[in-house]
Point group: none
Chain length 414, copies 2
């Protein structure tokens, strides 16, 4: 079975607000084996709401409407769903009494606009809302010629979550055929997306029962695998089998098989090998250290380092000879190596990691264009350098550079 | 005119990912007077995509499809839109040549799956994508019996943003009836949201024609003002009048009246005063320097500094006496001052800025709980310290600390 989630509210169509309830609902639905196939956001406009409801009923088995159940003029969900499904809406005397009682308990007078919160769709069950005035509604039956489950839930997240967990989950579980979903996220470092897909597509195509989604970012590709089956064992077995084959194909480009970030993996490796690290950053300006220290407990393996934005500080903090900078330029293999070795020595670290490059948008030359970045890793007896030309804007080039630098540490310790 | 935004990608229907491009697009469309009336999220499934495209064409004037333009098997947007609108799809030789050239320039072989990125809808104009392989498409004409504008844009945010701004905005502006909207974004540093709202609500309530939205983040509140009127002058005059009154009320807590970031404002002030800056970061671990260097041209006023995660490096890079650390602890006013003064001296900077604190989740004590952060700013003849207890998780505490540190520089130079 599949579901569509319809979030209602004009504020959700502004540049500054976003529906987040659907993330919670998606997680709960997925756990029951229900897949969310559409999410729709629609404003407080009856015609638009009816259109959204009609589209949803034509294409999903489970429809969850969120919001628009309050007492105001622009709360129109009940009316719109009634119109779209061609159902009567009647005022429930019991619900009305409860509403009046709720106001009386709080010693407030109930204004007449509140009464419409007692309106209920023909055939629906009211779902009491412990945290607000608007009750939810549960409806199941044949609509548009097919069996459908329809829920109307309040929009405020704390009301929606409590109501869904307490009153919808069990009802859903009883109606949904038992299904099991297994998932896995593989992450791949520093490989072009098309190359990655060309290598893995022939593999995942043999697993039509496992949905494979490829997400590409700067220097990182994520492969999300998601398998359905009639038992958890089968679902897991299929996903693990596919994951294993993809890992065999991509080999050491795969850095994570449980969704961990690259900085988390570097953290594991450094701790496992009982090594520590220091950095010298020019063009990344602190981003590399920020990523490393975003991990709680990073003080166990990260000493710190230097942000050597000016040439003077390259000398002051990492001992790079001014003549070397004068001869080769600050963005050069020679200076990258000297930075890595220098910061390693100054910090008495096991590993020294350095980045120098041209993040742009200004500062590029024909010889040394924007996007040129040198990465160096110094360790016991050996310093490696990697030169790259990264595409994109300043932010993206800097991110790419930190990704490449972290990947050098990972590969060294693997 | 109104618009529907359709975000495509199965990953956007999982509990862990959300479309954010639509927020950017909504802002740009609103500025043209175009309202977003529906947002739809749909997975990489041809039948679902066709259904979403059909629903959209039946109810909105402008359709923006985002994502699903890449080279992989599950990139199906072109095919689905062609099917929904009953249009031919043909391979464009010129686009194909450009694709091949792009790969050749990077000395990479183009795998055959890339070719479909040269497929174009009958009647559409290809929109070159400077940041990726997949070009966008622009289509306008009569569909479903009405004039429609249809855009196919790539999903990665940096590609979408650049492509939309450079190639869609002018085309849209030429087609949309002129409307007059004035906006202003005021940004406020280091003030609690409830206090801010209590002070400004009585003011903005007197301007019902200006929509005021308050967004609160860590150490920053944004007030978005948006006025519609029949002439640009009236809209601007109302927005400016309200903005002026809010600024009078909040005084020097307002750091920006044109939407600039705090690091941008600090950049202006440092350049205006012809001063430079160095930093010493403990708990923020590079985040402060990263924010400063995110501004292009920051090398004019930022020298660099030290990430002094370990106590040894506090001594090595900022000359903090080990006895001082032993006596007061690394998270103390005394060490914060010594770090700021020490890094200022070592870097020969006009200003030395330091942060030391407990970002958590571990490392707190009853005396020095998680969230305690000391910020110090050393300059000619004077060093200031600010002690704060920030709420939230590691990420939020670190962000708060960088915000407070930057705000100290702003206030010193104001």
């Amino acid at each position: 079975m599949n579901a569509e989630i319809i979030a209602i509210g004009s504020e959700l169509l502004t540049p500054s607000r976003q529906d987040t309830n659907s993330l919670f609902l998606t997680e709960k639905l997925n756990q029951l084996g229900v897949e969310v196939v559409f999410k729709t956001v629609v404003g407080d406009n009856r015609r638009h709401l009816v259109s959204a409801a009609r589209a949803a009923v034509s294409r999903a088995d489970i429809l969850i409407f969120m919001g628009g159940l309050g007492p105001t003029e622009d709360d129109l969900t009940r009316e719109a769903v009634a119109e779209a499904l061609d159902l009567e809406l009647h005022r429930d005397p019991e619900l009305l009494a409860k509403l009046e009682q709720r106001f009386a308990t709080r010693k407030m007078t109930m204004s007449p606009n509140n009464e419409k919160q007692a309106d209920i769709l023909a055939g629906a069950t009211a779902l009491p809302n412990a945290n607000g005035t608007a009750p939810g509604q549960w409806l199941s039956g044949k609509y548009d010629g097919k069996e459908k489950i329809i829920m109307l839930l309040p929009g405020p997240p704390h009301e929606l979550k409590a109501l869904f967990e307490e009153q919808c989950l069990d009802r859903l579980r009883a109606r949904v055929p038992p299904q099991f979903i297994a998932t896995r996220v593989l992450k791949v470092a520093m490989m072009p997306e098309s190359q990655c897909d060309a290598r893995v597509a022939p593999i995942y195509k043999c697993y039509p029962d496992v949905q494979t989604t490829i997400l590409a970012g700067a220097g990182e590709i994520q492969l999300h695998l998601r398998g359905h089956a009639e038992s958890l064992e089968t679902a897991q077995q299929r996903v693990e089998e596919l994951a294993g084959k993809i890992e065999d194909e991509l080999d050491d480009f795969v850095f994570s098989r449980n969704g961990e970030s690259l900085e988390q993996i570097v953290s594991y490796f450094l701790q496992m090998r009982n090594l520590n690290l220091a950095v010298a950053e020019s063009c990344t300006g602190g981003m590399l250290a920020e990523r490393i220290t975003s991990i709680s407990g990073s003080s166990r393996y990260f000493l710190g380092g230097a942000i050597v934005y000016s040439n003077e500080l390259k000398t002051q903090f990492a001992g790079v000879p001014p003549e070397l900078i004068a001869k080769h330029g600050a963005v050069s293999r020679e200076v990258a190596v000297a930075l890595a070795e220098g910061v390693r020595e100054r910090c008495q670290a096991n590993l020294g990691l350095a980045v120098t490059g041209i993040a742009g948008p200004t500062g590029g030359t024909p010889d040394k264009p924007v996007g040129l970045v040198l990465h160096a890793l110094a360790g016991e007896g050996k310093t490696e350098v990697i030169e790259r030309n990264f595409p994109g804007d300043r932010k993206r080039i800097r991110w790419f550079a930190t990704q490449q630098a972290l990947d050098m540490v990972r590969r060294r310790l693997m």
